[in-house]
């Protein structure tokens, strides 16, 4: 029988030139080849069960069913997709080829290629597949995506071709076979039954801020664009991986000119303090011209050289400094870092005067920034700056107005020494200050206007703001006096209209005093705030900013409990759009990765903790983490809420208002 088949195969092979005439394909032979290719690897494809863990990661539900892995060494190392472990399971079980279930240990992750390495104890040699060297792969060749999710006794098979090599900056091959939670972690196999790579989801656009998520790209499942990390690569890093070291994306620590990565040259605009680039003494204005001898002329080309590398990898970068005749070129040895020290904004310690506080005389039109308040023990206080001074020069730059001062401050760093020119009693004074990181102290000296007067004023009617694509309405209260660019306080109201009226009444005075719009948002569902409401809040915030022409320096999102978690989620994700997040009695959402503070944003956080809050330990942990990520976190303690009065007390409200007013600081 076997003899006959081989004869058949031979004859078909010999005469295949003839067959091509029909339409170029031999279907029966293809069918056999496909079955054999899958069978050749099937024994190494294992089913993985996980126990416990999170229900969702961000907005992605973690998959509930069994997942797939691939045995890569006879002594029990198994590779799988990080997607399958994003829920952080408490236990992992692997169904071995013998049918036995064995517990597995997660050895390490590869968060640059979104893989994990598992280890099981074995008492027998396990079947290991052969790999296809990357140089042998070709676009257009058959590829089979295998999983062991739907069935335990057979492998799930999807058929396709290799669509591209070296995708995602050289990290993966691309296939048009169906790739989804049904086979993430399984192999992509060639028609000869050899493994091309390990199937993973991967997103071309990393989600803003921090590291890429393990579930990023999963939304493109079964789309005709699937990815696999070459097994050849996995084997080259296996020894490093076996040591239990997580493999992380490597960072240089430079900011480059904004614009198209395919056009703009890799010219350095910012060098992150404490980064590998800073340690190698790279400077703003330098241009990268080659990496490890390979010339790069665009930012995209630079990414192709650096993205496949891991933290800890060394590379030689050639740079050009200066222009024209003065240009010099030099090589720089650099070791990529896993994490950059958190970015921290510089702080001088002054709060500009609001129009009311300014002297009602000719000085109003004079250039500069009039100082309203000085933070005690701040750089400004040490330098001798006083309320009423007019700041006209920061460092070497003349300051025309507040906006100009903000731009100058953004380019400065903590611990920098600068000279400052202020005008006091029509005399110029030259002072020096050593900048610090942004304060977390809430000014106690800000006069909030006549509280009694405003508090006794009649509560005004709330107006309605409705987004057409969402069912719920939001209510808002505009300040009594119109101002050009008011502040915007978005409060996530918890309990319907009664709560809204109480909130509006409580905040009206503060909002009038600060010239701030109060926007009260409602959850979409009956059960209070849910993470599904984030999309609504995002849209609502955008719409409101446009409609009220709100001051970006004073756009704050606030909430209590679950709503506070949502405020964190949205504020941290859209750090460029908010200046503050107020979270009352709320820990961070448990599955949220804290993004890094970035120079482009200026987000401050205010955490309010009621006495006896059961969240206190969590919240304290979160504060430490947020500070580590570079965000200033102010903390307020307040009396415990009682059942009949859930509203914040007046003292806490006043402190919140002063905190919001203080966001305008330099």
């Amino acid at each position: 029988m076997r003899n006959k088949i081989s004869l058949l195969t031979l004859s078909i092979a010999v005469f295949s030139a003839n067959l091509v005439r029909a339409d170029g394909r031999d279907y029966a032979l293809e069918q056999t080849a496909i079955r054999q290719a899958a069978a050749a690897v099937a024994d190494s494809v294992v089913q993985i069960h996980t126990v416990g863990g999170f229900e969702r990661i961000g907005e992605t539900m973690t998959s509930q069913g069994p997942a797939t892995g691939l045995i890569i060494t006879p002594d029990g190392y198994i590779v799988s997709s990080a997607f399958n472990f994003a829920q952080r399971p408490s236990s992992i079980l692997v169904g071995m080829p013998s049918g036995k279930q064995v517990p597995a240990e997660l050895v390490a992750r590869d968060l640059n290629r979104m893989l994990v390495l598992l280890k099981v104890a074995v008492d027998e040699q396990l079947p290991v597949p052969t790999f296809v060297p990357e140089r042998e792969m070709a676009v257009g060749q058959w590829s089979l995506a295998l999983g062991r999710t739907f069935q335990t006794d057979k492998v799930d098979t999807s058929l396709g071709i290799i669509s591209a090599l070296q995708r995602m900056h050289g990290r993966v091959v691309q296939t048009d076979a169906n790739v989804s939670a049904a086979n993430y972690g399984g192999p992509l196999v060639d028609i000869r039954g050899r493994v091309l790579g390990i199937l993973v989801p991967m997103s071309p656009q990393p989600t803003g801020g921090g590291a890429e998520s393990e579930v990023a790209g999963a939304e493109f499942y079964d789309s005709g664009i699937g990815f696999a990390v070459p097994l050849e690569h996995v084997l080259t890093v296996l020894d490093r991986w076996k040591a239990g070291e997580d493999l992380l994306p490597g960072k240089l620590g430079i900011g480059m000119k904004a614009g198209s990565a395919f056009v703009e040259p890799p010219a350095i605009v910012t060098v992150w303090p404490g980064s590998p680039a800073a340690e190698a003494d790279w400077q703003a204005g330098d241009t990268i011209i080659a990496v490890d001898g390979k010339s790069v002329t665009t930012q995209s080309q630079l990414q192709y050289q650096t993205k496949p590398l891991y933290a800890g990898d060394k590379l030689t970068v050639s740079l050009r400094r200066g222009t024209g005749d003065k240009a010099e070129e030099f090589d720089s040895e650099i070791t990529l870092a896993a994490e950059l020290p958190a970015f921290r904004h510089a702080f001088l310690g002054i709060l500009p005067a609001t129009p009311d506080e300014k002297q009602p005389d000719k000085e109003i039109t004079a250039p500069g920034v009039v100082v309203g308040h000085v933070w005690p023990e701040s750089p400004a206080a040490s330098a001798g700056i006083r309320a009423g001074d007019r700041l006209t020069k920061l460092g070497d730059t003349q300051i025309a107005n507040l906006a100009a001062a903000i731009v100058v401050m953004k380019a400065l760093q903590p611990e920098e020494k600068i000279t400052i020119v202020v005008v006091r009693d029509e005399k110029e004074l030259k002072l020096t200050a050593e900048l610090t990181t942004v304060t977390e102290v809430i000014l106690s000296s800000i006069d909030l206007g006549n509280e009694e007067k405003v508090a006794s004023s009649e509560p005004r009617e709330l107006e309605t703001l409705k987004l057409p694509q969402f069912p719920q309405e939001a209510k808002f209260l505009a300040p009594e006096k119109e101002s050009a660019a008011p502040g915007l306080l978005i409060w996530l109201a918890e309990k319907g209209e009664k709560d809204e009226a109480a909130l509006a009444k409580a905040w009206q005075a503060s909002c009038d005093a600060e010239g701030m719009v109060l926007l009260l948002a409602r959850p979409g569902g009956e059960n209070g705030w849910e993470f599904e409401d984030l999309e609504y809040l995002d849209q609502l915030a955008r719409t409101a900013r446009g409609r009220f022409d709100a001051d970006p320096q004073q756009t704050v999102i606030a909430g209590s409990g679950k709503a506070g978690q949502l405020a964190y989620a949205l504020g941290l994700r859209r750090a460029e759009d908010f200046s503050g997040v107020i979270a009352d009695n709320a820990p961070l959402p448990r599955t949220m990765k804290i993004p890094e503070n970035s120079p482009g944003a200026a987000l401050s956080l205010l955490t309010i903790l009621p006495a006896n809050s059961s969240f206190a330990p969590l919240v304290k942990q979160d504060i430490a983490q947020l500070r580590k990520a570079g965000f200033p976190v102010s903390v307020l303690e307040r009396p415990a809420a009682t059942d009949d009065n859930q509203q914040l007390d007046a003292t806490t409200r006043a402190a919140i208002t002063r905190w919001i007013a203080g966001l305008n600081r330099l």
Binding site: H49, G52, L159
Partner: protein
């Protein structure tokens, strides 16, 4: 014929046949598709509102014009129209339904003696994972004129029990389905045909469903073997509308009966750790101990406290439940069986 000659001639003869056959098969794919399209119909009926398409697909299952399709709101109209691949239009009669499989049988009013091409449901071609398949259907209603249905190609991904939901409802049908890697189950495709590359029927394309296992949209078909008898019943006028059998036994097992107390169930995916085992209970005799993590019960993976409680409820109190338990990093196997005279009122507990 001597042996040597045979060794030369036989392969050659075979080769000629084979070459002819393969060449024919390749050249005939077009012909296969054309013939198969004639057995797949477009059905237009009720709907038309948002995400409620007013069309679906059907297959001819007898020469007399019996059309099998899925049971849906589309059929809820007196104005139902069945359109053949050449554009001929019929107002069909409803013959029967199968609520469990969500199928409906229609009959076209044909002229005396007129016959149509059809799929023979007694034919059950062999099929294996990885085999290439074609899906023919009225997907997205794009075949709007006097034209045949759309054809998609793909491979058979899996043969597995249907574990899926529509919105938050799980389906009644839990038998095997063919999972394919073509985007076969889009709006309007339900009721279409899944065939092999010889045009032989493998199954009926189902409604749009999300897999509970992967959380992704499924592309699948009900295998012919799982509905052929139901179709026979409908043609013969025999009732098919049996209620789905109750899934729960009369007397279900429970953690309480077995003497197991799990750790407090605070998350949706709280791992099913044993908190305490009642003294003298069936759990104790089986060898369960506090801090054991139950990972498999009755052959099913148990990912949470809730899953264990649910799994036990499917078992009768007389059942033996094989368990896999994770203890000190190793797997321990045991069998849980309720002791006949288990003292339900016993209270002593062995604390962890």
């Amino acid at each position: 014929m001597n042996r040597t000659l045979c060794q030369i001639v036989c392969p050659l003869a075979l080769l000629v046949v084979l070459v002819d056959f393969t060449r024919a098969a390749a050249a005939d794919l077009h012909e296969v598709v054309r013939q198969t399209q004639q057995k797949v119909v477009k059905i237009y009926g009720a709907g038309g509102l948002k995400q409620m398409e007013a069309y679906q697909s059907g297959i001819l299952v007898s020469p007399e014009g019996h059309v099998l399709t899925v049971l849906s709101y589309v059929l809820d109209t007196d104005d139902l129209a069945v359109v053949l691949d050449d554009g001929r239009k019929f107002q069909p009669e409803r013959i029967g339904t199968d609520p469990l499989r969500e199928l409906a049988l229609l009959k076209l009013p044909l002229e005396e003696g007129e016959t149509l091409p059809y799929f023979d449901l007694r034919q059950r071609p062999e099929v294996e994972i990885g085999d290439r398949v074609l899906a023919l259907s009225n997907l997205y209603g794009i075949a709007a004129g006097d034209e045949p249905v759309s054809v998609l190609q793909g491979a058979l991904t899996a043969i597995a029990p249907l574990d899926a939901r529509r919105g938050s409802f799980t389906t009644n049908y839990h038998d095997d389905v063919y999972v394919v890697d073509a985007y076969a189950n889009n709006p309007g495709a339900a009721g279409g045909a899944l065939v092999n590359w010889q045009g032989e029927l493998l199954g009926l394309l189902g409604k749009e469903l999300k897999s509970r296992i992967t959380g992704t949209w499924l592309n699948y078909a009900l295998p012919t073997a799982n509905f052929a008898e139901s179709v026979d019943n409908m043609i013969a006028g025999r009732a098919n509308n049996i209620e789905p059998p109750s899934q729960l036994p009369e007397e279900s097992l429970s953690t309480e009966l077995l003497g197991i107390r799990l750790i407090p169930d605070v998350l949706r995916l709280t791992p099913p750790y044993i908190d305490a085992v009642r003294r003298g209970s069936s759990a104790e005799s089986a060898g369960l101990r506090p801090d054991d993590l139950i990972v498999f019960a009755g052959g099913k993976q148990i990912a949470s406290c809730r899953a264990l409680v649910e799994e036990l409820s499917y078992h009768d109190q007389r059942d033996e439940i094989p368990l896999l338990v994770l203890r000190d990093g190793g797997i321990v196997e045991m069998v849980l069986k309720l002791a006949p005279e288990a003292p339900a009122e016993a209270t002593g507990e062995t604390e962890p």
